[in-house]
Structures are given as C-alpha cells and as structure tokens.
C-alpha cells in the first residue's frame, strides 16, 4: 500500500497529490506536463516534495514535518525509466545483478533465473547494452529493477520510446510481472491502450492534481472524465470471457454481463478473461430490434443518461445488464428517438468494429484471486 500526500512547486507549476494505491497495477495517466513523472520521482526519492508524507506499506519514506527523507537507495523501490538507463560499461548480466547484489541474501525474493526466463533474455546475458534493440533494453531494465526485490515497481512510460511491434512484445511481460512476482506496480503512461491492457486501477492526473482514482472500467464509464480519458474511449470497456470461436463464420464469441457478444475472429483462448473496448461511435441505438441487418450484436439496454450536445455530438450512457456502454449519436438521432433516462432500447454493435486490438487479455479478478506468487 502506497500512500502519498505531497505538495511541490516547480516554477509556476503546482503539484498537489493525495493518493493511496494498493496491489496490482495502478496506472498514472494524464497528458504530458500533468506531473506524472514528478510524482514518480518523488516516490522514488529522486525529487523532494516541499511538504507532505509518503509511506509504503506503513513505512514512512518521506515526512516533511518529521524532516525525514530516505535516500533512493534505502527505499527499496524499483524504477524502470523511459530510456532504460542501462549501464553501458557493464554486460547485461552485470546490469541485472547490479542491484540484486545490494540486497541482503535473506531478502532476495526474486530469483535470477525466474526473471531471465519470464523476460526471455537468456540469450542476451553476455552482451553489452549498446548491442541491444530498444525492446531488449527495456526488458533488461525491467529485470534489473525486479531483481532488487522491490516493494513497489515504478515504471515511467517504459514503452514510450518503442514502436508498436516492440510494445506488443513487452506488454505481455509487464502484465505477467505484477502477478508472477506479487509486486505492486505504479505505471506512468499517456497511452490509454497500455492502461487498458495492464492496469487494475487508474489515477487520472491533471495540472498536478488527482482528477479521479478508481477501477479502470469505472473511471472510463464516467462521462465527466471523458475529456481526460479521451472521448472515444469513454464508457467503452467491458470485462468479458471468451466462450468459443466460430472459424467458418469468422467470429469469436464472448460473454459479458449484458449477454453474448460477437467480435471479429481474435487470437484468444476460450475461457480467457478479457477487456473489450467498444468505441462510443461504433454503438448505434434502435428502439425496436431491427430485422435483417449485418449488425451481429443487438443488446437489450436502457438509457441511463443523455448528455448535452458537445462538438455536434451527444453521448448517451446505457445500462446493458449491469455493464455500462456508451453511444455517440447526433442531436438529430436523439430527437427522433425521443431519448430519455430509463427508456428501454437496443444497442447495436457491428462485430467487425471490434478487432483484436480492442481486446486485451487481462485477468478479470483483482489481486485477491490472483495465483499465489512464486517466491523462493
């Protein structure tokens, strides 16, 4: 459990954060200049708050009133930087054990071979960092931080410098880490895609302040946060389970709170828990179930709220068997359907609009249900 209550002034910028995060992956999301990295640096001990208090699992790391400021080397917090920051004069192996050697043997909870296997870096151990690709560097940097058996792992946009292919290569590793090594992760990002794939809970930062904090699905379902989370993303994340593939029909069947959901054939395993993103603009509304149409998903739903017209569009929040869906329609459509809260209708979603990129393999349950960590 990480508890932060700090203030810091940097020029005209004022950071003021009061926050408590728990196990699993917490994403720190916000536009650049919102104070994400400053906050991470303060937690790591690389920057000093003007006042306040930071505690990790009840142990104070910083306490302005008590004049306590633990140096970074005594905080036991792993930090994966955006640019990797591998030591160029050391081999990959020496980089990896650089921090591990500083941890007393009795406190080394993360075995070297385990980390190397999970990150898939066996073949790189004798190389110099200069001879690694960007993705390889970041994997080594993650391993190096993990091997200090940190009580918390900070990741500051570790994928920002990588291309899409490298990102896809590393994301699954990070997703596996928190569960595998039972290390809470604070993940700084400005990519909602990464947040969807990784995070259990989300902290929205804006102008140095916490705008909202809660489970990812819940925050993305809040229309008032849409300007921060990105309008296209809002309300559009569901937890679902893969039920079956139908190769002949070219679809994959999912089940979620609102019923069955057909999506374009995706490389998933039946039984797997996933997060599905449904863009608000891809959801159409119908008062009666339509007859013969190409749209495969016709979900009974009811109107929760009809938003005001913004940028010429209206956001409609729907309840679909307990799950929240969003639909973006024109004011014209709103008036023709006479939409009002409580009204039953049908949400229409084309299966083809939900592609593999909108589906993220994500353990449905929060850490209490996660498999027991492998600690030796």
């Amino acid at each position: 459990m990480l508890e932060i209550a700090v203030r810091r002034r940097q020029g005209a910028f004022q950071l003021e954060v009061d926050l408590a995060t728990g196990a699993g992956v917490t994403a720190l999301f916000g536009p650049s200049g919102s104070g994400k990295t400053s906050l991470a640096n303060m937690v790591a001990g690389l920057a000093r708050p003007d006042q306040g208090r930071i505690t990790l699992d009840g142990r104070p790391l910083f306490d302005g009133a008590a004049r306590l400021d633990l140096p970074p080397e005594r905080r036991r917090i792993g930090y994966v930087f955006q640019e990797g920051r591998l030591f160029p004069h050391l081999s990959v192996r020496s980089n990896l054990i650089f921090g591990q050697r500083r941890v007393p043997a009795a406190e080394r909870a993360v075995p070297f071979d385990d980390v190397v296997a999970v990150l898939g870096i066996e073949a790189l151990l004798e190389r110099r960092p200069a001879r690694l690709s960007g993705g390889e560097k970041q994997r080594v940097a993650i391993g190096r931080a993990l091997l200090t058996s940190p009580r918390l792992l900070l990741m500051d946009e570790p994928l920002a410098a990588l291309d899409a292919a490298r990102k896809a290569e590393i994301l699954p590793f990070i997703a596996a880490l928190s569960r595998h090594f039972a290390t809470p992760i604070l993940y700084v990002s400005h990519s909602m895609d990464e947040v969807l794939q990784l995070a259990d809970s989300l902290v929205l930062l804006q102008n140095g302040q916490v705008a909202a904090h809660g489970p990812v699905e819940e925050l993305l379902a809040r229309p008032d946060l849409a300007p921060l989370t990105g309008r296209g993303h809002a309300g559009a994340v569901l937890r679902a389970t893969v039920t079956a593939h139908d190769d002949a029909a070219g679809v994959t069947r999912l089940a979620f709170a609102g019923g069955p959901l057909l999506v374009a054939r995706a490389p998933l395993t039946p039984g797997q828990s996933v997060r599905v993103r449904i863009a608000a603009r891809d959801v159409s509304l119908a008062l009666d179930p339509p007859g013969r149409v190409s749209i495969q998903n016709c979900l009974p739903a009811s109107v929760v709220r009809v938003g005001p017209a913004e940028d010429g569009l209206v956001d409609v929040l729907l309840d679909c068997g307990g799950a929240r869906l969003w639909s973006q329609i024109t004011p014209l459509a709103r008036d023709r359907l006479h939409l009002r809260p409580g009204q039953p209708l049908h949400a229409l979603i084309k299966a083809a609009t939900i592609a593999a990129g909108d589906i993220a393999a994500k353990e449905g349950a929060m850490p209490c249900a996660s498999p027991s960590p492998r600690r030796t």
Partner: protein, 230 residues
Amino acid sequence: MPVLTPLEREALHLSLLVSGWAVAGSLPPGLLAAWVLARLRFPGKTLLDGLIHLPLVLPPVVVGYALLVLLGLNGPIGARLHAWFGITLAFTWKGAAVASAVVAFPLMVRAMRLSLESVDSGLEQAARTLGCGPLRTFFTVTLPLVLPGVLTGAILGFARSLSEFGATITFVSDIPGETRTLPIALYALIQTPDGDAAAARLCVISIVVALAALLASDLLARRLKRQLGG
C-alpha cells in the same frame, strides 16, 4: 640501454620519475576538483574555478617563485614539512614533481570535468534506485564512465610535466642527478660550447618519449571505448 649516454639516461629517468609522480599525485585531487566544478553549485565557484586555472595562465616562473616562497625551507609550508615529516621539497626531485603537478593540474581538471559533465546523471539516479549510495555510485558507475576523460587528463598532465621547465628551474634549480630533467639538461647543453650534437640527441629522446605517451594513450582510449560498446 647502451645507446644512451649516462647523462641522457639520468635525465630521462628523472623526467619519467618526476612526471609519473606529478600525475599520480594530482590525479585524485584533480578528479575531486573536476567533480566539484561539474556537479556542485555554491557561492564562490567562479573564484575556485579561477584559482584552479591560475597556473595555466601565469608565467611558469611566477608559479616556481610562489612555490619557492611557500614550500622553500624557510617558507610557511616548507618549514613545517621539514620539521614535522622531514620532507624537503626545495632543490630535490620531489620539489620538481610538485612544480610539475601544480602546472599540469588545471589541464587535468579541465579534461576530467568535461568528461564528468557528459555523463548522463540519469545513470547515477538509476544506480541510486538500485541500492547504491552516492559514494558507491561514483565508483561503480561514474568513474568507469569517465575513465576515458581521466586517461586524457593523465596524458595531458604527463605531457605538460615532461615539458615543464620554468617553474621547475625556479623552484628546484638545475642540479645534475636530482632535478636535471630532459628540458633542463637540454637547456644546460645549449649553454655549453660544443653541446649541439648532445642537445640534438636530447631533442630526439624528448620527441620519442612524447610520441610513445600519445600512442599508448590512444591505444588505451580505444580499448576503453570498445568496452563501453561504442
């Protein structure tokens, strides 16, 4: 070395001895000064910077005279060195090493400071988060990364020491077998009638030594660079 006359051998030996000790002695404080100038901000930094660079811009004779006044047998520091530790600097080869070190110091500091300033402080931050205190971070991360700069500084200092004349002759004079290094022996020979041939030989020796030092440093620098994977 039968090709060298006893006089040449003595001068070469003294030159290498004096320059070697001058570099070895001024390297640690030079590194410290370079680190202070590269990393710290404090009032009076410009003054310290100026003081460190003073021997570079002062006539060497002035430096030599200052050393004589301070470190001579009757000087405020020299008298105490003699009384407490039995060390005599004036008119000894040790004094020649001190004179060379003082003159070479600013050159060494400059090279090492440049190198320190180019080290990514992010790497040092990373080392801190990996459990290293400031001192260990310096020795395990910073120092290996600035080794090329330290090497450059050492070679510059060594070369400057080899060529040191003015401060040396002012402070420790020309004493055969004690302070008569290559440049001073050369100067003495030029003053001697019929010394031209011997002087020319000393010139060649000086050139060979300087070239050897440069080549060795180049070789070392390349090896260091390869180690950094660059």
